[in-house]
């Protein structure tokens, strides 16, 4: 589905909630959230099965084909 290397214009594909998202190469979690228009608050982010704490959003870099989950609270019993 995707290439395994950054392409010539410096973007890279990642999978967010099983949907392909193209990010600038070397983007951080925070840049991903900005691109998707999501807040920092009220979310949990997991990259390749590991939780990324909110305080690390600005530093944590993403790589080609990372599998990312972004979850929040919804109504439930």
């Amino acid at each position: 589905m995707s290439t395994s290397q950054p392409d010539s214009v410096g973007t890279m594909p990642v999978l967010v909630n099983e949907q392909r998202v193209d990010l600038p190469a070397g983007a951080t979690v925070q840049q991903l959230l900005l691109q998707l228009g999501l807040p920092r608050r009220g979310l949990a982010v997991e990259v390749n099965g590991e939780i990324v704490p909110q305080r690390s959003f600005d530093e944590r870099r993403l790589f080609v084909d990372d599998r990312i989950e972004v979850v929040s609270l919804v109504g439930g019993g």
Binding site: N17, G76, G77
Partner: protein, 298 residues
């Protein structure tokens, strides 16, 4: 929380203790299946619940409405309790619990290390998987969680979950969303008696199956410390009114439990005196009933 009846006796029921937390309300509310966030918030307010449960789900990336249900709730006074719904094994439950904790941390709420553990074994009956539930409890307790553990009404499993470190054991009254009430009151009484035998404050919460106010009152009369419910309110004809009814029901149930119900008898027992009757009573059963057929309730 003010008492619902100003005319009542000065009954201040003990606080509900769950792990490191304590609450005045005996009602924990789910936030699912409401027609709107506004209705959910109004029902939660009417219920006087201090704990509201949520599920952890994938954020919608492109079609999000921008409305967040948390914006509708008073986060200063409500405690958010994430659940692990959707988990069918211990690993999935642990993953969801950790995500829930991370969400709570990002919200900087005072309590962020607790979870309503729910590990189901079957998507049609929604019955819990006892083995995976116990396994997940052990893993989450080791990871520092205060685990409120949804389970079947099996007394031995309840004992094992408490021994594994759950801060509350939450037996189902009947299947999730069924509204069938407390189907096995004897098991519930056994669980309560067993878990509280050496630990009277250990909270037993009836979670799932409550259909209407009398079910909630009964659960508390049988010895449960609280009820957790969702569908009974969300799917009621008037959810806000039913939330209010549930508030009254748990107050009534805990007060009745504290008061101690009368014993049951197979026979009638007149409230009016038999001395001074103008005519003789008719019938023999009333003559022989004295001291017979007393059924001890407890």
């Amino acid at each position: 929380m003010e008492q619902s009846s100003d005319a009542g006796p000065a009954i201040a029921p003990d606080l509900l203790r769950i792990g490191s937390q304590q609450f005045q309300s005996r009602l924990l509310m789910g936030s699912g299946r409401f027609e709107s966030f506004e209705l959910m918030a109004a029902a939660v307010a009417a219920s006087a619940a201090e704990v509201v449960t949520f599920a952890v789900r994938r954020e919608r990336l492109y079609d999000s409405s921008g409305r967040n249900l948390l914006d509708f709730l008073d986060l200063q006074n409500l405690k958010l309790l994430p659940n692990t719904s959707g988990a069918y094994d211990a690993a999935a439950a642990v993953r969801l619990a950790r995500m829930g904790r991370e969400i709570l941390r990002s919200l900087e709420v005072p309590v962020d290390n607790w979870v309503k553990l729910e590990v189901l074994g079957d998507s049609r009956t929604l019955l819990p998987d006892p083995i995976e539930t116990l396994r997940a409890t052990e893993l989450l307790v080791a990871d520092g969680f205060e685990v409120l553990c949804y389970t079947s009404d099996d007394p031995i499993l309840a004992r094992r979950l408490k021994a594994a470190g759950a801060v509350s054991v939450m037996p189902a009254g009947s299947p999730i969303g069924s509204g069938l009430g407390v189907l096995n009151p004897h098991n519930l009484q056994t669980i309560v008696a067993d878990l509280k035998a050496t630990d009277p404050d250990f909270p037993v919460i009836v979670d799932a199956g409550i259909g209407t106010a009398s079910d909630a009152a009964l659960a508390l009369e049988l010895g449960a410390d609280a009820v957790l419910l969702n569908s009974a309110v969300a799917r009621a004809g008037d959810p806000v009114k039913m939330a209010w009814a549930m508030r009254l029901a748990v107050e009534a149930g805990i007060a009745a439990r504290a008061a101690g119900r009368m014993g049951k008898s197979r026979f009638a027992s007149a409230s009016s005196p038999e001395i001074g009757l103008l005519t003789s009573p008719v019938g023999v059963v009333s003559r022989i009933s004295e001291g017979l057929g007393k059924v001890k309730d407890n």
